[in-house]
């Protein structure tokens, strides 16, 4: 393989890896994928919006979904909530957060937490598209 071909293969590999890395980063921390792709303003905005939704959901003692045997919809909801990435695992396994069902803000908090997860999943797709050059 010549030097030119080698650099071409390396460049192709880098182009292929970029959307995957951007998607992973976008999932781990809201906005990080956009930051990686050089969209600083949007990264900050998305981080703030998704972060606000997570913080409000926790303040309201909303439910952070986890799968319950015999209730298949909780698995779907868990996948949605897990969309928020690292915050989900920090809250569930680090802070042992689960929500307070008797709290007056429980339903609202649940909506905020689930929405945060779903919004971040959309950010993963957006970062993926930007990295592939489909969107700017």
């Amino acid at each position: 393989m010549t030097e030119g071909e080698g650099s071409e293969v390396a460049e192709k590999r880098e182009v292929e890896a970029r959307p995957v890395l951007a998607g992973i980063l976008a999932w781990v921390v809201p906005g990080l994928g956009h930051l990686y792709l050089g969209r600083r303003g949007r990264a900050a905005l998305f981080f703030a919006v998704v972060g606000c939704a997570i913080v409000l959901g926790c303040i309201l003692h909303g439910n952070l979904y986890h799968p319950i045997a015999g209730q298949p919809l909780t698995t779907v909801a868990t996948l949605g909530a897990m969309g928020m990435g690292l915050p989900y695992f920090l809250l569930r396994y680090g802070a042992h957060y689960g929500g307070v069902i008797t709290s007056i803000g429980y339903e609202y908090g649940t909506a905020f937490l689930l929405t945060a997860g779903l919004m971040n999943l959309l950010l993963v797709l957006d970062a993926w598209d930007i990295a592939r050059g489909v969107k700017d």
Binding site: V49, V50, C52, L56, G105, Y108, A111, T115, D136
Partner: protein, 62 residues
């Protein structure tokens, strides 16, 4: 926090998010933000108004 305030905050976050996600130009972002925000708030109020005649729980026994 009141139910209405929480609904407005929710609508605000969702509207900002989708306006930034789906539009790149400032004018388009503002237009979409207003559409989503007003749609959610006014839609929520309209739904609440429609549901108002329906009882919120089982009938109270005399």
């Amino acid at each position: 926090m009141s139910h209405f305030l929480l609904m407005v905050v929710y609508a605000l976050l969702v509207a900002i998010f989708f306006a930034a996600l789906w539009r790149r130009d400032r004018k388009g972002q503002i237009k979409l933000f207003l559409q989503i925000f007003l749609g959610l708030v006014l839609g929520g109020l309209a739904l609440a108004w429609l549901m108002y005649p329906f009882p919120s729980g089982p009938p109270v026994s005399p």
